[in-house]
Symmetry: C2
Subunit: 247 residues, 2 copies
DNA sequence: AAGTGGTCTAGACCACAGA
DNA sequence: CTGTGGTCTAGACCACTTA
């Protein structure tokens, strides 16, 4: 494996970051500084910084500098959040989710629409009314967007109920579903990690080169009826996911 | 958002990929071809291709060309593999991309070593013997490495048993642990997605710009004793993870 | 031997941040 | 206004694949 100048510079900086010499939030030596110190072309210095950015160790702020990235991880405990008992105590589903910083809803859109094909399949929709209620939210932490979520529910089930309003009330959507005799008790989550496309990266204001986690959750009632599909897109750099199972 | 030449070229190619005009496995127009067609510098053509690679849509084979990436997803159902008594397996939302192919062990290393700090903590090791048995494996599909796994077990528990041998016999490590009176029945998995460092990318022979999923699993006996820590590193482009819970 | 991606130098212009 | 990262052109050499 060739040890190119750009890689050498990146190695040096990486070592200084990991040793703590360059603390999170610190401004890294910029391109001009690297050009002077290492006697390379500006492009090469830029490439070295891009390597660190691609590893998720740094992020660039154009016009200002390149900074050691701060890792403020959010722990998302899927199993504990959604298991029965924990949720009955009122408060949003997300209350138990965050470590310190509050997760806030930044943008909310509620609308009715025809179900995309994969949603119709997951919700087992057929016949006349294949329309769904879509609740789209964006979550922010410290003003930084970290998650997008689109929740799909059968319109025939929730039309005209509180679920179709922006504020679903105490306990959230799932509590309202329970009142409708459709309490979700079983969940499946399918999960992928990939690179975001440009729109997604923009919506999460992610620096290019950092991945996202895509989660598809299907919520089922006790008799196995699917009542909600939730597609989530997480900034991978902000999250640790947690699953517990067995017994 | 600036629409630079490189982005324009990438947009064109992306559209042709998504439309199926450029099928998976196809060779993309190379740098020289793009230079001619678009009248740009070689670097700019290279940057356009790098954008697609960073999105996971293509991968470069130096000396040969840049190719539309094939998505053959492996489905990993954590809950069903490890739990006793299973529910029916529903269809995957990404079913179209999922393929059933055998996962083979490519490289195996078994050794005894002092426990890294985080392992000692997870395994609740203290006192005299903090050494662990480490079983390192690499898994391949169709000759392509897709997963690395390092399993750590308390040496005091498994030293001299079949668990310490390369071939652990029918049922694997967990069956042997059960025979030792330490059957794992509860599991926690912590999961992150991030960019691989250079060593990891090489071990998984990943094109730079594609993420990995890191999983830390702790296996507990019925009385809550941790008996195994497993650190897995998956090629994110090859996997869909599946969790089921509730009830 | 020809073609490919990978990387480098050298020099240029731009948009934007911050004092 | 100065310094920053972002991107471009133009030209060069290398290691590798493929035939």
């Amino acid at each position: 494996m060739a040890e190119t100048p750009a890689r050498q510079i990146a190695d040096d900086l990486r070592a200084r970051i990991k040793s703590g010499d360059l603390a999170p939030g610190t401004r890294l030596p910029g391109e001009p500084a690297l050009v002077r110190q290492y006697g390379v072309a500006k492009q090469t210095a830029a490439n070295a910084l891009k390597l660190l950015i691609a590893e998720g160790l740094a992020s660039a702020r154009p016009g200002s500098g390149t900074y050691v990235r701060e890792f403020k991880l959010i722990r998302r405990s899927a199993t504990e959040r959604l298991s029965r008992g924990r949720r009955a105590s009122g408060g949003s589903v997300w209350a138990a989710d965050v470590e310190e910083r509050p997760l806030e809803v930044d943008a909310l859109d509620v609308r009715e629409a025809p179900a995309p094909e994969w949603v119709a399949e997951a919700l087992d929709l057929s016949g006349d009314d294949t329309s769904v209620l879509v609740r789209s939210r964006r979550y922010v932490v410290d003003g930084e967007p970290v998650q997008l979520a689109d929740s799909y529910l059968p319109a025939a089930l929730v039309r005209g109920t509180r679920v179709a309003e922006p504020d679903t009330g105490p306990g959230g959507t799932y509590a309202r579903l329970a009142e409708l005799g459709a309490e979700p008790v079983d969940f499946t989550e399918e999960l992928r990690a990939r690179m975001p496309d440009r729109d997604e990266a923009e919506a999460l204001s992610q620096p290019p080169g950092t991945p996202v986690i895509e989660i598809l959750r299907v919520a089922l009632t006790a008799d196995g009826r699917p009542v909600e599909v939730n597609r989530m897109l997480l900034d991978a750099g902000s999250y640790v996911l947690d699953y517990r199972f067995g017994g």
